[in-house]
Amino acid sequence: MTTLAGTTEAPHTDPSRDPLPRRAVTFLRTHEERMWHWGGRAAAVIPLVALGFALTVLIVKAMPAVRVNGLGFLTRTSWNPGSTYGATVRTNGVAHPLNVSYGAWPMVVGTVQSSVIAVVLAVPLAVGAAFALTERIPRWLSRPLGFTIEVLAGIPSVIIGLWGVLTFGPWLSNNVYPLIADNVPDVPVLRYFLPPVGHGQGLATSGIILALMIVPIIAATTRDLFLQVPPLPREGAVALGMTDYEVARKVTLRWVSSGIIGATVLGLARALGETIAVAMVSGAILGRVAPNIYASMTTIAATIVTQLDSASTDGTGFAVATLAEAALVLAVISVLVNVAARLIISRTGRNGAPIGRG
């Protein structure tokens, strides 16, 4: 009530209480509304400016690399910075070291593979955990447990990477991967899971670490969505004698499925762009598509962060331009995925949940 009571006093009756000079105060008061409006507008435009700035810089920087690397950039496997000490050559008017051959195929594949593994692992975990938190567990327990998931969302990726590379990855490669690798038959798809299991830095570890990083996004949204499902349909289902599984599958999940899909795609976007943790646990091997699921690999983001240092030693600036091209590819992928997520979510808003709105 304090807020309301505080506002009932007549506004600006006693100018002596104002710390500002009187004219400034009068100006502020008469123009207050307009200033809020213009301040708000200016601030609301800044994301657009930032986005435009970033994309423009990337496109301008990437142009020379596009001219030399051509369309083959997306399909080539090699990553050869050329001989930095030799003579510079010109192709299409762009100077670059002799014998350069840059290809982004392995890192595009690595990005997609690790993100897909992450989503496949994260969705059941997140939905299951959100279900247990909202539907099964009493409130006194679900609050602290929910907080652990919030903490997981807040932990810096460099810390997750540190744990992944020193503790979790080695543990996986000693205890979990051999178990899978030794029991998988040699048939087309599952061949990918055959040994060697490596040393714990690679595609599978990256996927699992990424899954842990996107679970909080999906779980938090799913939990909020579950809480919005009105109790009546669920109670009706229970009264009809449905089991937990049937209520979940036929009522609750139906109600919120497109919201969960939207959250999943947002999680996918996050996984595609995650950098530091992946750079630490992927092994960061350039110029090779991972031969099996345990093998070292790299992603676009990880390549940029690990290669920019050495790229800046290329006197022609061609290596930095190539990284701009890679960054542009990543930016385009992430913008597309984000827009897809928004479309899914905005469709939800229109069609879904007719009763829950009240």
Partner: protein, 304 residues
């Protein structure tokens, strides 16, 4: 604020045969998912803390880094400086943007968002999902190299702010939308102008929510590595307020760079920095939690 619907708990499952078994299996799997998640999170935090505590030296708090040894004073102060800067820049812009989206952007006659507002909102959301390393790269080529600012505070602040403005705007918008319409109507009935009621009634009520959003954004900003590596770079010296031309240290750098160096002193620093980061993030998250809990208690008390 409506309270969450109570869980529908049926202790024994209905059904017979396979239906019943499916029910139990499903129940078991959801518990398993929760246990896995909580267990892995606990393992992660305790694992890092457990490695860090045997390596902990109090003198990292007041000595600066020398090569791969020494302390972390420069990194601690650098992280705090970056947090303050982000708080000022991204806080102002983000909160103003959130106010614009929730209160000021005029809806069209049919109640939907105007086309411009919808476009700006999409931009904000895309920026929220923009890969941080790409922003870091843009900062490097455009600000550090392009504008000859060198590795320094200003490019780092600009890039970090670009990253967290969408979060803050979103949190502010959410907090403002929670303010009951009655309050606004009451303020208008008392004859307040929109601006005055915004400042005195609406923002005051939404303040806990906005603060929570700001704290979470600071937690994100202080834990970032990728956008800082090529903008702030790293420095052994205690940071100053010099905006350009002088690199800045921060806590995530030693973790990322020192953990796989051969020297023991480097490992010690990496673990100590990790521990400090965990403590910092926990402080921010728990403060945010306390604010939320307190507001909810007050809100519930007020309704009752």
């Amino acid at each position: 604020m409506s309270s969450a619907p109570s869980p529908i708990t049926t202790r024994a499952l209905p059904g017979t045969g396979m239906r019943r078994i499916y029910g139990y299996v499903f129940r078991g799997l959801t518990y398993l998912a929760l246990i896995l998640l909580v267990g892995l999170s606990a393992w992660m935090v305790l694992g890092v803390v457990g490695r860090a505590i045997p390596n902990w030296q109090w003198n990292v708090l007041w000595t600066t880094t020398k090569g791969t040894g020494g302390g972390l004073l420069n990194a601690i102060l650098g992280t705090l400086l970056l947090m303050v800067g982000v708080f000022i820049i991204a806080g102002t812009i983000g909160v103003m943007g959130g106010i614009h989206m929730a209160e000021l952007a005029k809806p069209r006659a049919n109640g939907k968002m105007g086309r411009v507002s919808a476009f700006l909102r999409t931009c904000t959301e895309i920026l929220a999902g923009f890969p941080s390393i790409v922003l870091g790269y843009v900062g490097y080529v455009a600000l550090v190299v392009g504008l000859h600012w060198g590795f320094s505070l200003l490019p780092a602040l600009i890039i970090l702010s670009m990253m967290v403005i969408p979060y803050i705007a979103k949190a502010t918008e959410g907090a403002l939308r929670q303010v009951p319409t009655n309050y606004r109507e009451g303020a208008e009935a008392l004859g307040m102008s929109t601006g005055y009621s915004l400042r005195k009634v609406v923002l005051k009520t939404a303040l806990p929510g906005i603060t929570t959003g700001l704290l979470l954004a600071l937690a994100i900003a202080s834990g970032e590595t990728a956008p800082l590596l090529y903008t702030a770079n790293w420095s052994d010296q205690v940071p100053s307020l010099q905006l350009i031309g002088k690199p800045v240290g921060y806590l995530t750098y030693p973790v990322w760079t020192f953990y796989n160096l051969p020297e023991q002193s480097a490992h010690t620093l990496a673990y100590d920095a990790a521990l400090l980061l965990v403590v910092l993030i926990f402080t921010l998250l728990i403060t945010a939690r306390i604010i939320v809990a307190r507001t909810q208690r007050n809100a519930e008390g007020r309704v009752a």
